[in-house]
Each structure stands twice: as C-alpha cells, then as structure tokens.
C-alpha cells in the first residue's frame, strides 16, 4: 500500500510549487501568496490547505503533531495524523515539545514553541478584508496600497453595538508593521502568541488557494482603539482537570442536569500539568 504513494502523498512537482509559494510567503510576512491548490482526499473545510503545506515542509526525520481545537484526539486531528503516518511514515507525537511540525486548527499550543518548530494553520477564509469588500481585485489593491482604514470599521461596529470589541476569533493583526492578516479562526486569546514567536508559522487555505506566513520573531500587533485596547478572554475559574488559570478553557457539558466542566482545550498542556501535579503529590 505505501508503495502506491509518493512521500507525503503529493508528487514532487507539486511540493516544489508549494515550497516556492511558501518561500515567497516567508519573504513577505503576512502577504497572501496564491498557489495551485490540489484536490486532497478530504473535503474542503477539513484542512486541505494545512495538509498541503504540511506535505510540502515535511521531511523524513520530522515528528508530526496534529491538533484540532487544541485536542490531539478529535476526528480531524486523528485522521490527518494517520494520513501522514501512512503516506510519509513519519514519527507522530502528541507532545508539543517533541514535535517539529505541528498542524493546527483553531488553536496555538499553550506551551511556548521553540526555534526550529513549524506551526501549520488550516485557514478557511484568508482575506481579513472580505467582510468589508467582496471584490478580490479590490482587496488585493487595498493590501498593495496599505489602504486599511476600513479594517477598523469592523471593530467600530462591535464597540458601537456591544460597548466593547466582541470579535473573539479570527481577530485581525498587522504583521511586521505592513500587511493586515487574518490569523485563521484562532481565539483572540492566542493572538499574543503570534508575536515574536520563535517558531515559523505557515498558513494554508486550500479552497481559497492562498498561503501566508509569519517568520520567527516577527512583530504581530492586534488592531484596536486607544480607548478600547485589545484584550484576551479571561475565565473566573481554573481548569477543572489540571487547575491551570492561564490556559484557554473549553466548556464541556457533563450531564443533562446542567453539570458542566471547564477544562483546558490544549489536551497535551493539560496532561503535562496533571502528570506533574501527580508527581508533586507522590513526593
């Protein structure tokens, strides 16, 4: 079976085309580079962009981790991990610290990434201006001319209606002081982690046929108002499993009588903390 596929599923010419696009994206941080997106053996919206970028950067010695909403054990994460385990025979892991390539949907791991790691995002809509301007030609021109005044209109609408900036995911950022970028639907809780990150961050949108990138240690600012500064979500309770007060929490309904549990969405981070808690108790 494995002989039927090229390494990491895509043929070498396709990976070469993708790598060229990725190199260009790295050279122009935040700029959306078009690429010839291929049909993948999974539907659009399930990570076809991310999976192509991963295929293009994956080497035989890489260790792959795949997360979906922070979790390693959800359907999307499990099948993409199995896909590369089968087609590239690379080692896989659930541990953030051990991975060299991490493909993610909707989260950045809580543990600070280190130099040499690559974080690959799955992106549904790469264009941050789409909400304001439906014409692709026009949005490209706006990016080209750094004509970004309209971007704040979206935030203005939030504050006017709700009294605060209610955009809580896909929160627009300015990369390296130039391009305004949609960081994919990560919660704005993760936006500060984009800034000055030691790892390379790559974004792939399969249906929209765009890749973009944030090179290591790049300035990434979240857009805001002087009197309504950017802030992240806070919870009034710690994680119900590991007790963390600084991670992004999911609300899990546990029964049909109103019982609910707040726990870390990053399963690896939570497991690591529980392990060390247990060791502390055992001592």
């Amino acid at each position: 079976m494995s002989g039927a596929y090229n390494f990491a599923y895509l043929d070498e010419q396709t990976k070469r085309m993708l790598r060229r696009a990725i190199l260009k994206a790295v050279a122009i941080p935040g700029y959306q580079v078009p690429f010839a997106s291929r049909d993948m053996p999974l539907p659009y919206g399930w990570g076809t962009g991310g999976i192509q970028v991963t295929a293009a950067v994956l080497g035989q010695d890489d260790v792959l981790k795949v997360i979906d909403q922070g979790a390693d054990d959800t359907a999307n994460a499990v099948s993409i991990r199995a896909f590369f385990a089968k087609t590239a025979r690379v080692a896989t892991t659930e541990r953030t610290a051990e991975a060299t390539v991490i493909q993610t949907r909707h989260r950045i791991p809580e543990r600070r990434l280190h130099a040499g790691q690559i974080l690959v995002y799955q992106v549904p809509i790469p264009e941050p201006l789409r909400f304001l301007e439906p014409r692709e030609r026009e949005t490209r021109r706006m990016h080209g001319l750094a004509d970004y005044g309209a971007m704040h209109v979206k935030l203005y609408e939030d504050v006017a209606r709700m009294g605060r900036i209610t955009t809580s995911f896909a929160y627009p950022v300015k990369v390296a002081g130039r391009y305004v970028m949609d960081p994919s639907p990560i919660p704005k809780f993760d936006n500060p982690k984009l800034h000055d990150c030691p790892a390379l961050q790559l974004f792939g949108a399969g249906r929209e046929k765009r890749v973009y990138a944030i090179p290591p240690h790049t300035t990434v600012e979240s857009l805001d108002f002087e009197d309504h500064p950017f802030e992240v979500q806070r919870w009034d309770r710690p994680c119900g499993l590991c007790g963390s007060t600084e991670s992004y929490l999911d609300e899990v309904v546990t029964d049909d009588r109103g019982g609910r549990l707040f726990c870390c969405s990053d399963t690896d981070f939570c497991r690591e903390r529980r392990d060390s808690n247990r060791m502390d108790e055992g001592r």
Binding site: G149, H152, V153, E157, F225
Partner: protein, 260 residues
C-alpha cells in the same frame, strides 16, 4: 498672494475616448477655492465622463488635472501614483454618487459609515470618532438616535444626506457630486439643496456638481459649463448663462424648463 488667488483645480486638454467614440473632447477649466461649478447637459453629453476623469476612476487619454493640495504644491492627478491619489481621495476630496447605495456601506451602521474616513485618516480613538459622527448627523439633520442603524433602513433623502456627511467628515477641499438630487422627490430635493448650500458656505468648499436639472444649478452654482456631445459649448456665470444663453443649444436647454 493668498491661497484664494490661485485656482484649486486647473484642468487642461482633458480628453477621453471609448473606442471610436470621443466621449470627452479636449476640455479646460479652472476651479477656485470656495467656488461651485455646475456642469449641465443632456444625458450622454459627457458630464459623468468628465467627472470620472477628474477623480481618476476612469483613466483619461490625455491632458492634465492640476490640484493644489493643502500644502500649497500643485500636483497632477493624472500623473500621480495610485497610492498618493487614494490618500488625496480620502482626505482632500469627496465624491457624492447619484445613488447613495454606491457611496455608502449598507451593511455598516450610519456611525461606521461616517467614521470610516476618519479611521482611514488614522483616528484610533473610538470616543472621538463617535462624537464626530454624532456632530455630523446633527449637521445633516439626521436624528442622533439613528447612529447605530443600518442605512438600508433609511429613506432615499436620508441616505443621500448620510453620504454627504460621510464625505465631508474629513473636511475635504474639493467635492465632486454626480446628480446628488437625482431620484429624490421635490420636497426632499429642496431640503437637500438647502443643506448643501449651507455646508458649502460654512466649510468654504469647492464643488463640481454634475446635473441635468437647471434649477439645481441655479440654486447652488456660481459658474456653469454647458456640455453637448463631449464638448463644452458655453461657459460663464450661472445667472448669465441661464438668463442670456448665447449658444443655440444652451438656448434650447433654458427654454425647455417648464414654468411652474
């Protein structure tokens, strides 16, 4: 010599063809600060083409449009890089479309529509943007309580007034208007004209207004150009042109006004 002694806009040999059709024959005129110039003529006479060439929405075939920016230097709008032209268009120009739906963002609240140009000009303080939006709603006689409503729920006259507020909020020095009263009923037109007249005087605006309605031209403009088949056939002070038209076409135009 003060800024008022120099023309704000100098148009020379501006021309535009669409294929074999010369929509605009070489045209020239000057516009001084604080002056309202009406361009009248029947449909297809090249009025809108002239306006579009002035803004750069449509690339002109030749000629020059020199604009004296607030720093005092004259720049040729046709030779300018697009980035600079957009910056000027955001700060020193306004453009009022005939159909307010072309000039407004209908899925954005009235306040957001007014604030957009301020934010584009670098305003980053929500409270101040909102205060300015409220002040402008007052000036264009829209109730303050409508600030968070979407313009699609506004009447035609209100939409047009909102479009005017959205354009004037950055205090442009030149406003181009394409049939601003078209499609409005007579009483709403009258109110809008009153409003425009007041704002033009208050803000010392220079305006180029394209209209086929001679009454609008009479009320608002100081000078007027009469166009026919892509050519300016007559130009002069509005009262002079309307009371004593020289060119046969102008005479026809003036005589075709229905006496009320």
């Amino acid at each position: 010599m003060s800024a008022h002694d120099l023309p704000l806009l100098e148009v020379r040999d501006l021309a535009k063809s669409y294929g074999g059709l010369q929509a605009l024959k070489p045209t020239e005129f000057d516009l001084w600060p604080g002056e309202v110039l009406a361009i009248v003529g029947e449909s297809g006479s090249g009025k809108t083409t002239l306006l579009s060439c002035l803004t750069g929405h449509v690339p002109a075939d030749g000629g020059s449009v020199r604009f004296r920016s607030s720093e005092g230097a004259a720049v040729d709008l046709l030779q300018m890089a697009e980035a600079e032209r957009r910056l000027l268009a955001r700060t020193e120009f306004g453009f009022v479309h005939q159909n307010p739906r072309d000039g407004l963002r209908l899925n954005i609240s009235a306040g957001g529509n007014i604030g957009e140009r301020l934010m584009a000009a670098g305003w980053r303080h929500f409270g101040r943007i909102r205060a300015e939006a409220l002040a402008w709603l007052d000036r264009v006689e829209i109730d303050r309580s409508r600030i968070d409503d979407l313009p699609r729920g506004f009447s035609g006259g209100m939409q047009q007034r909102l479009q005017i507020a959205r354009n004037l909020v950055t205090r442009p020095r030149l406003v181009l208007m394409d049939e601003p009263t078209g499609g409005l009923d007579v009483s709403v037109q009258a109110r809008l004209l009153d409003l425009l007249r007041r704002l033009v005087a208050e803000l010392d605006l220079a305006v180029v207004i394209v209209t086929h309605d001679l009454a609008v031209a009479r009320l608002l403009s100081h000078r007027m150009l009469v166009m026919r088949r892509g050519q300016v056939v007559e130009h002069g002070l509005t009262d002079r042109v309307l009371d004593d038209p020289q060119h046969p076409y102008s005479q026809l135009l003036v005589s075709s006004i229905l006496a009320a």
